[in-house]
C-alpha cells in the first residue's frame, strides 16, 4: 500500500516536472499541442496524423449526429464561419446555447489546422489558398487528392456507406486521429489496396 502511494506520488511529481518544462519551453507550437495532447501522446505524435479530440463537451455536442471531426482538419477561419451559423448547419439545426457555442468556438480555433504541429493539418493548410474558407473537410483539395482513386461504387453508391463524410466508417483509427492508408476498411468491401 505504502509502496503504491510512493509510486503514484513519484510518478505525479515527475509528470508535473515534465509537463512544466514543456509548457515553459519557448516553442509556442509545442505548448499549444501540449495543452490538448498530454505529454505521452506528444512524444509519439509522429504516428498521429491529427491531434485527437480530448474535449468532452466537443465530443458530446459535435459527435452526436456524426463523427466528431478533429479541429486540426480545417483552418480556424472555417470553424469560425461554421460556428457562426449552427442553425443552418448543412440543412440541419445544430443550435447551441451561447456559452457552449463560445467555448467550442474557442476550442476549435485554438486547435485548428493553421499552426498545428501535425502532418495532415499542415498538408491540409498547404492545399488551401489564403481566401479559401471550406466548410467541408471533404471539399479541401488535400482531401480530394487523397481520395480521388476510390470509385463511386465504393462510396456514394455503396448502400453501407453513402458519403465521404463518415471518416470513421473507413478509417478504423479515426477516433485516435490516425488516418494511415493501412488502417482503411471500406464497409461492405474491405481492405483497400491501390
Amino acid at each position: 500500500m505504502k509502496n503504491m502511494t510512493t509510486f503514484i506520488t513519484a510518478t505525479g511529481v515527475i509528470g508535473l516536472i515534465l509537463t512544466a518544462s514543456l509548457v515553459m519551453g519557448d516553442d509556442d507550437k509545442y505548448e499549444r499541442n501540449e495543452r490538448d495532447e498530454g505529454f505521452l501522446s506528444q512524444l509519439f505524435s509522429k504516428k498521429t496524423d491529427v491531434a485527437p479530440v480530448k474535449n468532452a463537451v466537443y465530443k458530446e455536442e459535435c459527435g452526436s449526429c456524426h463523427f466528431a471531426y478533429q479541429p486540426g482538419l480545417l483552418p480556424a477561419r472555417s470553424w469560425k464561419k461554421m460556428m457562426g451559423d449552427l442553425e443552418n448547419h448543412f440543412d440541419e439545426n445544430a443550435e447551441l446555447d451561447k456559452d457552449t457555442q463560445i467555448a467550442l468556438t474557442k476550442y476549435l480555433v485554438e486547435n485548428a489546422a493553421d499552426d498545428a504541429n501535425y502532418k495532415r493539418s499542415r498538408r491540409i493548410m498547404n492545399s488551401l489558398s489564403k481566401n479559401d474558407t471550406p466548410l467541408r473537410i471533404t471539399e479541401t483539395p488535400y482531401f480530394i487528392r487523397k481520395h480521388d482513386e476510390i470509385p463511386k461504387r465504393m462510396v456514394q453508391d455503396n448502400p453501407k456507406l453513402g458519403s465521404f463524410s463518415k471518416c470513421a466508417a473507413c478509417h478504423v483509427n479515426a477516433e485516435k486521429g490516425s488516418y494511415e492508408e493501412d488502417d482503411v476498411r471500406i464497409p461492405g468491401i474491405g481492405k483497400w489496396d491501390d
Binding site: S64, C65, H66, F67, D91, E92, N93, A94, E95, L96, D97, L161, G162, S165, K166, A169
Partner: protein, 132 residues
C-alpha cells in the same frame, strides 16, 4: 455477497429518480406555460406523423432517426450515425437531463416540423416517450 445485490439496486433506483426528476421539471415548466394535461396517445400519433419538408419535398418524422420501436437503436437519417434507444426501459440515460431534452426538442422539431413544438405537443410526446 450482499454487496453484489445491493449496488445494482441502488444504481437502478437512482437512475430511475434522475429520469423522473428531469421529466417532472419539464412538466412543471409546461404547466407554467398553461398545459393542464398530457396525452400519451396524442404524443404517439405526433411521434409517428409525417411532415413534408418544403425545400426537399421529402417526408420527415421523429421516426426518421429514432425509429418506430423506441427500445431499438436509431440511425441518423443523414449521417448514418447510430442513436441510443430513446426508451428509458432499455436506456437508463435517456431523458435524464433537462438541458439536453430542451436542446433536442428545439432542433428536432424545427427540422422535422419546420417549427418549434408547442408546450402542449412536447408534454404529449414526453408522456409517450417516458412510458416506453
Amino acid at each position: 455477497m450482499k454487496k453484489k445485490i445491493v449496488v445494482p439496486l441502488i444504481l437502478l433506483l437512482s437512475s430511475h429518480t434522475i429520469m423522473a426528476d428531469a421529466i417532472n421539471d419539464m412538466f412543471t415548466q409546461y404547466q407554467q406555460q398553461g398545459v393542464s394535461n398530457a396525452s400519451e396517445q396524442t404524443g404517439k400519433t405526433l411521434w409517428n406523423k409525417k411532415f413534408t419538408d418544403k425545400k426537399t419535398g421529402k417526408d420527415r418524422s421523429c421516426t426518421s432517426c429514432h425509429g418506430v420501436d423506441l427500445t431499438k437503436v436509431g440511425k441518423h437519417v443523414r449521417t448514418g450515425k447510430k442513436i441510443n434507444p430513446m426508451a428509458p426501459s432499455v436506456n437508463k440515460k435517456s431523458l435524464t437531463d433537462v438541458k439536453n431534452i430542451k436542446k433536442w426538442f428545439k432542433r428536432n422539431c424545427k427540422w422535422t416540423l419546420g417549427r418549434e413544438c408547442s408546450a402542449q405537443e412536447q408534454a404529449d410526446i414526453l408522456t409517450y416517450l417516458k412510458n416506453q
